[in-house]
Symmetry: C2
DNA sequence: ACTATATGTAAGTTTCCACTTACGGTTAGT
DNA sequence: ACTAACCGTAAGTGGAAACTTACATATAGT
């Protein structure tokens, strides 16, 4: 049931920027904050939300904390999405089979 | 770039309930609203957001509007997620290969 | 034509959240 | 021990957004 917090976390634009920046590899907080239009404490708060959603992992290295993407939360979100994906495809297939002869409104060359 | 609005749309709990209810098949607005803890106009507003995000489709049938899940927005969201999925797996693999002999902290049977 | 049903929209309110500034804590170096 | 660097947390504030009530619109049936 962690897909809920993952969705809420990735909904915010700034938080998404932080997350997308981590896609290029692990990084300490200060480096993430530089280049972003918000303050460093804001980035810290965003990282906390991402961490609680299972989307990032934290590792201490001396005085800095290295953050990296955690595949766990990503996997749960993907699994949740796939449910809808299969349902939507099934429904679409069933609807196409229900219309026998013509192709419906989307007919090619009238 | 529609994955942004899709994420924002699915972040809200009530909107997610509407969307998950549509997973069982198409439905008019009134039926969606009954059984939800919010008013019917609220559901209408949520459906508008979901529609603009490409997550649902609308079809008029007499005096009612039938809503159903639209695979388009779902697909874009899935594609965006897969980028991170592959990146995260690559990074994880590279990190494992970087530690040669021992298995790190996760060693089995010390 | 009139009524009832089903839905979208406008206006207003309240709650929540992203952000900033200020502060405290921890580690490395001299 | 003292200083500097790096980071998390607390408190406060502005703005967005989810919700309700009230109103407008369109279709179907008699």
């Amino acid at each position: 049931m962690a897909y809920k917090s993952a969705l809420a976390a990735l909904a915010d634009p700034t938080r998404r920027q932080v997350f997308e920046r981590l896609r290029r590899g692990p990084s300490p907080v200060g480096r993430l904050a530089s280049g972003l239009p918000v303050s460093r404490p804001a980035v810290s708060q965003h990282l906390k939300v991402l961490k609680e959603a299972g989307l990032v992992r934290e590792e201490q290295d001396g005085t800095r904390r290295i953050y990296r993407i955690d595949p766990r939360g990503l996997g749960q979100l993907r699994a949740w999405l796939d449910q809808f994906w299969e349902s939507a495809l099934d429904a679409f297939k069933a609807e196409v089979e229900k219309e026998p002869g013509a192709g419906g409104k989307g007919e090619k060359r009238p």
